[in-house]
């Protein structure tokens, strides 16, 4: 009986959610899906990350080319698979950053910090790399597994924290709390990430990593120099619990917004990491962005599932959690969105959107 009541209540909540999502005002917009000028013989693949710097230059982190396995001793090594391109304000190609870097294997996100450093999140190497504008590596968080296991049942068995089939590095400190007796999904007190998805900073420059959409369900905090501070979160659906973290942004007051995709909500935490509120009725948040300026807006993409052309809309949200409007739908045509994984919203009416499905970047102008 109680269970039935729960179900009824759940159904009512879902109905209400659907209703409110539909009643959100549509925002008119234009999109340009053909503004990037790439050098000859260079192609974008799945676009995982887009970000602009203070000068309007655009950085695109894309899965292109292939992750290549190298046959070595009894182990198999891998490299390549993703590239970071820089474009000028008009979309013209400027240069490639980090070409051939050890940790660029499966692009997940790129962000630019207030000092215009470029931060790359890679969910293949499970690393976060910080580059300066000249492309020098300033900081590396996480370590890439030394080799990959391609013979199930043989070689080094996959263990805590690593995706199945990925052997931990020598002396690997498997993340994935719970398997070692800790709280499920809590990870360890360090930078062993498992499919990290995003990075953000507070005003003091502390670093927050969303870790991630694998079995870890936590946010890890580091000082600006990369020293571990704390970790919070575990797998679940309660307050401060996560299920597949897809994005992370921090507002000017150091409040932290986490795209808790598996729970269809954005959780908001205060600067002490205490749960504050949650934003619902925005579908499954996959890409988050916070605009700059005195009035900040939060953008969140309800990206389509790879096996569906439903959803796909992007929400504009006030920092009080009020959904102000929505635009777009899933599809492969220009002005439609295919698995949006990244939004840049430095100026809130001129967005840049990166799509995994459609291998492209669109410039979106809100009217």
């Amino acid at each position: 009986m109680r269970r039935a009541l729960y179900l009824c209540a759940a159904a009512a909540v879902i109905a209400a959610a659907t209703l409110s999502a539909q009643s959100v005002a549509s925002i008119n917009y234009d999109a340009n899906s053909d503004f990037l000028v790439l050098p000859p013989n260079t192609h974008l693949g799945e676009v995982a990350g887009v970000a602009t710097n203070s000068r309007g230059q655009l950085f695109v982190y894309t899965r292109t080319g292939h992750a290549v396995a190298t046959l070595g001793d009894e182990r198999t090594f891998y490299h390549g698979g993703s590239r970071l391109f820089q474009f000028d304000q008009t979309g013209k190609f400027v240069k490639e950053i980090g070409q051939g870097a050890y940790g660029m294997n499966f692009a997940q996100q790129v962000r630019v910090d207030p000092q215009d450093n470029i931060w790359v999140v890679d969910s293949g190497s499970n690393q976060v790399m910080k580059f300066d504008t000249e492309g020098r590596v300033l900081l590396v968080l996480g370590r890439k597994p030394e080799n990959i296991g391609v013979r199930p049942g043989a070689g080094i068995p996959a263990s805590g924290g690593m995706p199945q089939g990925v052997a931990p590095a020598e002396g690997g400190r498997g993340g994935g709390g719970g398997r070692g007796g800790g709280t499920p999904g809590a990870g360890i007190n360090g930078d062993t990430f498992n499919r990290p998805s995003d990075v953000a900073w507070d005003r003091a420059g502390n670093i927050y990593i969303a870790d991630g959409f694998g079995p870890n369900s936590r946010i890890a905090k580091f000082t600006k120099d990369g020293d571990f501070v704390k970790t919070w979160g575990q797998t679940g659906s309660g307050q401060g619990q996560f299920n597949k973290i897809r994005g992370l942004v921090i507002d000017a007051a150091d409040n932290i917004y986490v795209a808790d995709a598996g729970n269809n909500r954005i959780q908001v935490f205060d600067p002490s990491m205490t749960f504050k509120s949650e934003i619902r009725n925005i579908g499954t948040p996959q890409a988050l962005c916070l605009s700059s300026g005195t009035t900040q807006y939060l953008f969140s993409s309800n990206s389509n599932d790879p096996e569906s052309m439903d959803n796909g809309e992007i929400y504009k949200i006030g920092l009080n959690g009020q959904v102000l409007g929505r635009f777009g739908k899933a599809g492969k045509m220009p002005k439609e969105f295919g698995m949006v994984n990244a939004i840049d919203c430095r100026t809130p009416n001129n967005l840049v959107v990166g799509e995994v499905w459609n291998w492209r970047v669109q410039k979106v102008t809100l009217r």
């Binding site: 053909d34 013989n41 192609h43 992750a67 089939g165 096996e307 045509m333 459609n358 291998w359």
Partner: protein, 345 residues
């Protein structure tokens, strides 16, 4: 125990399918079909193909696109004289192990890649306009390695599993033969929206054993090269079975010519492995009416000049000017038919 029995039954089926897929069965129509005289244009392609030529297609200007599994899979463009023009999709995320290339009526070039499970639509200028399918997350795939890409029949709306070919009807709906890991035909509208999918693995009606190529005629009928079952299944535009042609051997490649009177060509290719027990019964290409009437055949199995190793794809925009891509002999060939000199032996 019972599950085991089912498993081994599946294993036998897969095994049988594999053997069938290798072809080698003589075509019923061979003995009764007149030979069409033909010539090879020697050294038409001026740049060597350094790998398996899996795909070949022409555009309206006579340019020829060849998909080659060389060190990296390449999509090469040649002009109407066979001079190399350029390469498309260099370093693209979607090009790991090519399977076919086709050109639509707008001269867009579609590359079918069974190593990434992706089909890329290139503009005539070489820009990627649309992507069908999704390359799997490599870390999620690691646990499956080393796999053979065998039939699993996932039949997902927007993902393929070693798809083989693509074709379009007059409304620009997109038809995909998919393939090795699935065993079906998938229909999308021109915007890439999923409409319908039919087929499982097997040898019954609307079942397939390696649907290896696909072509659509001007009326919108869909011809599926059901290679492992040695038959062409003809479907209507809504993917209902219309008829079956089972007298032209194992169709590795099919194409339909342009013009008011369209012809269907089907290649009973010499299987890979160079097994000369099969050479006498394979290697020929059939020219057919769309209704299945066999008009003639040409070619024979072999690696020499004027022989065909394993033809993997054909282009027959012009019904008397056929391009063939061969995987074992690493070559693409321009073939001129002389139908007016048809002999009647």
């Amino acid at each position: 125990m019972r599950r085991l029995a089912v498993c081994s039954a599946v294993g036998v089926l897969l095994c049988a399918g594999f053997l069938l897929a290798q072809g080698g069965a003589p075509a019923k129509a061979k003995a009764t079909t007149p030979e069409i005289p033909f010539e090879i244009v020697a050294n038409f392609f001026k740049t060597p193909l350094l790998g398996e030529a899996v795909g070949v297609a022409t555009n309206s200007k006579g340019h020829v696109f060849v998909e080659v599994r060389s060190g990296e899979t390449k999509l090469m463009e040649f002009d109407q004289n066979g001079a190399f023009v350029r390469e498309l999709g260099v370093g693209s995320y979607g090009m790991a192990f090519g399977h076919a290339v086709r050109v639509d009526r707008y001269d867009n070039i579609w590359a079918v890649d069974e190593g990434t499970n992706v089909i890329m639509k290139f503009s005539p200028e070489g820009k990627i306009l649309m992507v069908l399918g999704k390359r799997p997350d490599p870390l999620e795939q690691l646990a499956l390695m080393p796999g053979g890409g065998q039939y699993s029949g996932a039949n997902k709306p927007y993902s393929f599993h070693r798809q083989t070919d693509v074709a379009w009807d007059a409304q620009d709906n997109i038809f995909v033969s998919d393939g090795y890991g699935d065993s079906r035909v998938v229909k999308y509208d021109k915007t890439g929206r999923f409409i319908k999918s039919v087929g499982t693995r097997g040898n019954g009606p609307l079942q397939f054993s390696t649907p290896h190529a696909i072509a659509v005629d001007a009326k919108g009928l869909v011809y599926v090269a059901d290679r492992g079952n040695s038959r062409i299944q003809v479907l209507d535009n809504d993917l209902n079975l219309k008829t079956i042609y089972d007298n032209v051997g194992a169709p590795w490649a099919v194409c339909i010519s342009e013009g008011a009177h369209q012809y269907l060509y089907s290649s009973n290719s010499f299987p890979t492995g160079n097994n000369f027990d099969q050479a006498g019964t394979t290697g020929e290409i059939y020219k057919m009416e769309l209704d299945g009437t066999v008009l003639g055949r040409f070619g024979k199995a072999g690696h020499g000049p004027k022989e065909f190793s394993s033809i993997h794809q054909m282009d027959c925009r012009n019904p008397n000017e056929i391009y063939v891509a061969e995987i074992t002999e690493w070559r693409a060939t321009k073939v001129l038919l002389r139908p007016q000199q048809r002999t009647n032996n």
